[in-house]
Every structure is written in C-alpha cells, then in structure tokens.
C-alpha cells in the first residue's frame, strides 16, 4: 500500500468503527438505560421492551455489530489487496 492508499484505508476503517460504536451506545446506554421507561410501555414476547434490551437485545446487537465489523474489514482488506496475513511475526 502506498501513502494515499493507506490514508484511504484508515479513513474507511475509522468511519466504519464510528458508525458501529454509535449503534453500540444507542442499544445499551440508550435503549437499555436512558429510554428504558418509555420503551417499557411496549413489549416483546411478553417482556417490557426496555427491560428486554437491557437483558437480551443489547447483547444480540453487540454480536451483530462485531459480525458486521469483521465482514466489512475482510472486504476492505480484499479491496486493498491485503492477503499476507499468515506472514505476521511474533517475538519479544
């Protein structure tokens, strides 16, 4: 990768991270805590919605967020021709 490619790779990585972290904050701090009382007036499968987010929905969303991240980063790597993963070294 040359300098310009690196810059664009990094920018796209940061943009992806930022949007996923916004969702991360919305489902946990938002739906699970800040708006829990309003959401509790609705219900899902017999459980008040805010409570459901705090105990089930947030965890499921976290899992989906990491899955999207892994998938998008794979595509990004491919686009920039990064294939040499297994060459990475270890030492101390």
């Amino acid at each position: 990768m040359d300098a310009a490619a690196r810059q664009s790779y990094w920018k796209r990585n940061l943009r992806l991270m930022a949007s996923l972290l916004v969702v991360w904050a919305l489902v946990s701090y938002g739906a699970g805590i800040l708006f829990v009382e309003q959401l509790n007036t609705l219900s899902i499968m017999g459980v008040p919605l805010g409570f459901w987010f705090a105990q089930q929905g947030a965890i499921l969303t976290f899992l989906i967020l990491i899955a999207i991240y892994v998938w998008r980063m794979d595509k990004l790597d491919q686009e920039f021709g990064i294939t040499e993963y297994e060459d990475e070294v270890h030492g101390s």
């Binding site: 829990v36 509790n40 990491i66």
Partner: protein, 576 residues
C-alpha cells in the same frame, strides 16, 4: 455416598482426566509457545478459550443470582450489558492492532510503545488485578467441592491447585488454551441443559430466552403482591447515573483486563484476531442470554413455593442449602412462617446466597442426579479456566517483563521458560492460599478490579494505537492519575472504611468510568507538553494500523530495532 455425589465424582473425575490429557498432548518447549501458544490458535478455538477464560466462577455460579435476587431483575442488567459490550470495544479498538504489534503481554506493549517506567507501572497493575481475581476463582472451587462432594474447602482448593499446576505449568499458554476449549464445552453444556429443562417444565417452551417472557407478568404480579418492587421495573434499586457509570466501568474494564487482551496475541493473524473477538462474544452470549432466564425462573419458583411456608416444612433442596449455610431463615416476627414482605437478604427473614441459584436449578426443577453432577463439573470448569488464564498473566509478567526485560536480558530461552514455570508455580501457591483464607473484602474487590482496568489500561492502550503523538510521560501520568483517583475513591467509599455514600451517590464500582475519563484527560494534556515519540516509533504505530506484512513491525517484534531509534536518547530516569 448419595447418587448425586457419585455422579458428581464421575463427571468431575472425567473432566479432570481430559484436561490433563490435553495438557500432556500440547506441552511446550519454547517461550513463544508458553506465553502465546506460538500465535497459532485458529479463531473458533481461540474464541472458545477467550470465553472460558473470561467467564469466571462469578459468571457461571453467581450471575443469575445477582440479577434475580440481589439485583431484583432490572438493576442486574448492568452486568449483562457491561460484560458483553466490552467485546465490541476490544474487537474494534484493540484486538487487531495489538495482534499486529506481535508481543507477549500487555506490559510489553506499554513498555515498547511508551517507556520502561510505564512498563513497570503496567506490570504492577496487571499483577494486582490478576491476583485479586484468581483468589475469587479458587474459593469458587472450594464452594463446589464442599457442597457437592462434602469435601472440606481446603482439600477442594488443594485439588484445584494440583490440577491447574499440572496443565498450566506443563503446557503454558498452549496447554491452557486447548484445555480452555474443553472447559468451555463442559461449562456451556452444564449451563444450558438445566436451563432448557426448567423452561420446558414451567412454560412448555424449551428455549429459555423465549420461555422467560411467559412468566414475566406473573413474576411481576408475585413481587407486587409480596411488597417487592416489580421485577422489570426500572431504577427501583439503582439510579440512572449509577446504571450508566457501572455499565461503562464494566465495559471499558473488560477491554482493559490483561488476561483478556493477551488472548488476542495468541491468534494466528490480524484477521484471526478479529474473528476471535466475534467467536468469543458468540460463545459468551450463549451463557449471558441464558443467565437472565435462569434467574427469573428461579425467582419465580422460590416466590411461588417459599413465602408463607411453615418453618421446618421447606422443600428438600431448600434444606440441603440451609445445611451449608447458603440459605438462612430467621423468623424475625416469630410467627413460624417464612415472610418475604418488604424484602429478602441481609436483615430480612429469608436470605438466599447468589451463588446457589445456578447450582440449585437442577434440584429445584427436580432433574436427575447425573445433571446435578454435570453442573458441578461445569462450575469447576468455569473457575479453573479463568484461574489458569490469570496465572499465565502473572507468570508472563514476572518472567518476561521483569526477569527477561529488566533483570537478565541475556537469559536463554530455556532459562526464561524455567523462570516462567517457577513464577507460575509460586502464583498457584499464593492463589490457593488466598482461596482458602479469602480476605473479607474479596467479593467487593473483584468488581473493583474492573474499575481499575478501565481507569489504568484502556485509555493508554487506545491512545497508543490511535494517536501517534501520545507521549511516554503522558501515558505514565495518565495511568497514575486514573489508577490513583479510582483507588482512592474506592477505598474511601467501601463500607469497611466508612463513607459509603461518596460524592453524588456515585458507587465505588461506578467510579472506574470517571477514573478512565481522568486518565484520558491527563494523558492528552501531558502529551502536549512533553517530548514527542521518535519518528521511528510514530512510524511503527502507523504500521500496526494495517494488516499484512511490514518490515518495521517484523523487525521490532524480532527485537532487531535499536532502543535509541525507538525511544530516543537514553534517559537515566527510566531505570528508576
């Protein structure tokens, strides 16, 4: 010997034999194998190992109880969100970059990126946090042995020590990782079977996550009738500010705990490190999505059967836990009945220890003896797997970061390995001692460890990767400020020292989130006024951001780069 004890013995014996066999088959002879399993663990296996490493005796044995009984439903959500949300941060902010850096320990990154002073602060943080944790695991082993096999707690802990000694000292990270894969399998099967059975029994739906919605209305009604606040009601026990701060402290603390971070070094590549985070959260979610269901089912069962019962007329399972002192009944109003109106716990008529909820689930649901034995083996697997991961952090911090890096840089591979093994053996003895004689405040301190992880490591790791100009002095000052303020606040507010109200009612675990912000601010401000990292160091930080081979990172990992190029002219203060 009862049939429950016989089955427990069979499952525990079989699982222990399996762990030792795996350790023998994967024994190591190099430092890379001992510290990071040679960096050659495939992502799904690494994910399962992270899950087992992460889910301690507290997750397996106590969490469902904490949510349903002491957290009264909603307030317990801080643990569910906090202990899983941290993986999103790990996956995106730390794992790929630390793996690319290619070192053995967290202090290794801190020392190489910043300075030797910062390395020593990091070593101390890593060792303190790990010892606090491991003591809790060992006493968990003691509880399981005592309750299920009727063995003395001390004997139980010693048996646990011997098993960990065999596979951790022999196999290092490689042995530990493959053993943890087996331990994860044991613990998740042991957790899910009773949950599915109890859900089927109460609701006719074999999926606990769906089943618990069926009883929620009734559970809320039961609690209201008994004078307790609603199970799903928000902010009945904890205000919004503390809910926010504790969730944050646990999330950022998870992303700052050395024994979790080090697992990403064991991945095959940067890509495998990302996938490891995904697999880890998947495996963890299986248990964490089930725990709130088990908690709700148990509370429903207890509230349906116990209040109003004549004392002396309790069900069988209730009495067997009374015998070991984990359920206590105290007829305060002298009417001969168990009353829960007003509440449960310390100072009320009925007190149920959080630790029994999961262990008692099969008995409450009337499941056969082999399943009860399996749950005991699962509890042991959870405790031992976490203990071994923590012991490895202690051992590698001592052998790699202190002995090899500071005391004897000429040490041969064989010699480093021997020091690592001796450090591990010594750590096991200390952990065992702490498990047998737990200091009274261990339970509190374990939660505090997260606050410390958030306040010390997380900010400087993230800034070290995402901000090239973050300086060594900034990081050292930030760590000291974050850790110092958090420790001071925690000591000031813990019950044993008096002032438990604190400032604005912020509780001692919550403060970790504030300590983290302090660390961020101090690191950023001090970095403005102190010498910038060398051009080579800035280039190195730049290079770890992209996967794929880069000469500089490879040379650094192989130790071929000159100290002066990386850190500038030698500063004698760094030797302090």
């Amino acid at each position: 010997m009862s049939s429950v004890q016989l089955w427990t013995l069979i499952f525990v014996g079989l699982s222990f034999a399996l762990y030792i066999y795996i350790a023998y088959a994967s024994r190591v002879s190099t430092t890379a194998g001992f510290y990071v399993a040679g960096g050659g663990i495939p992502a799904p296996a690494n994910g399962a190992a992270i899950a087992a490493d992460w889910m301690s005796a507290a997750s397996f044995i106590s969490m469902a109880g904490i949510i349903a009984f002491s957290g009264n439903g909603y307030a317990g959500s801080v643990y569910l969100m906090g202990w899983t949300g941290g993986y999103v941060l790990l996956a995106m902010l730390l794992a790929p970059y630390l793996r690319k850096f290619g070192k053995y320990t967290v202090p290794d990154f801190v020392g190489d990126r910043y300075s030797e002073t910062a390395r020593l602060i990091a070593v101390v943080c890593a060792i303190v946090v790990s010892f606090v944790y491991v003591a809790g695991q060992m006493s968990g082993v003691g509880v399981v042995f005592q309750r299920f096999l009727g063995v003395d707690t001390t004997v139980g802990v010693v048996i646990g020590m011997v098993i960990v000694f065999l596979y951790a000292v022999l196999g290092g990270m490689k042995g530990i990782t493959w053993t943890q894969v087996a331990q994860y399998s044991v613990l998740i099967v042991a957790y899910l079977i009773p949950a599915i059975a109890i859900s089927q029994k109460l609701t006719g739906i074999p999926v606990p996550q769906i089943g618990f919605g069926q009883i929620m209305d009734e559970l809320n009604a039961l609690q209201t009738d008994l004078g307790l606040s609603e199970y799903t009601g928000a902010f009945t026990q904890m205000n919004m500010l503390n809910m926010f701060l504790i969730t944050a402290a646990l999330m950022f603390g998870t992303a700052g705990l050395p024994h979790v971070i080090v697992r990403f070094y064991t991945a095959k590549s940067v890509r495998a490190a990302r996938y490891s985070a995904l697999w880890a959260l998947f495996f963890i979610a299986l248990l964490y999505l089930t725990a709130p269901a088990i908690g709700a089912f148990s509370k429903y069962n207890v509230l349906n059967s116990i209040p109003g019962t004549t004392i002396g007329d309790e069900p069988e399972w209730f009495r067997s836990w009374q015998d070991v002192g984990l359920i206590t009944v105290n007829d305060l109003n002298g009417n001969g009945l168990i009353d829960v109106a007003g509440g449960m716990g310390e100072g009320f008529e009925l007190m149920i220890n959080n630790d029994i909820v999961v262990l008692a689930t099969p008995e409450i649901a009337g499941l056969p003896a082999p399943i009860i034995g399996l749950v005991a083996a699962g509890g042991l697997a959870a405790a031992l797997s976490t203990a071994s991961g923590l012991l490895l952090v202690i051992s590698s911090s001592v052998a790699n970061d202190v002995y090899y890096k500071r005391i004897n840089p000429q040490a041969t591979e064989a010699r480093q390995l021997m020091v690592g093994r001796i450090a591990m053996a010594a750590a096991i003895v200390v952990a065992g001692y702490l498990g047998i004689n737990p200091p009274g405040f261990v339970a509190q301190v374990v939660a505090l460890a997260f606050g410390l992880g958030a306040a010390s490591f997380f900010p400087i790791l993230v800034l070290g990767i995402f901000w090239k100009k973050c300086t060594a002095a900034g990081a050292a000052a930030g760590m000291v400020a974050g850790l110092g303020t958090t420790l001071a606040y925690q000591i000031w507010t813990i019950d044993i020292y008096g002032n438990s109200d604190g400032i604005l009612g912020i509780n001692e675990v919550s403060f970790g989130a504030i300590g983290m912000v302090i660390n961020f601010i101090v690191t950023i401000v001090v970095s403005q006024f102190t010498p910038k990292p060398t051009p080579a160091m800035q280039q190195l930080v730049e290079d770890i951001r992209y996967p794929g081979r880069s000469e500089l990172v490879a040379a650094h990992a192989a130790g071929a780069l000159d100290e002066e190029i990386l850190h500038g002219e030698h500063d004698p203060k760094d030797d302090a």
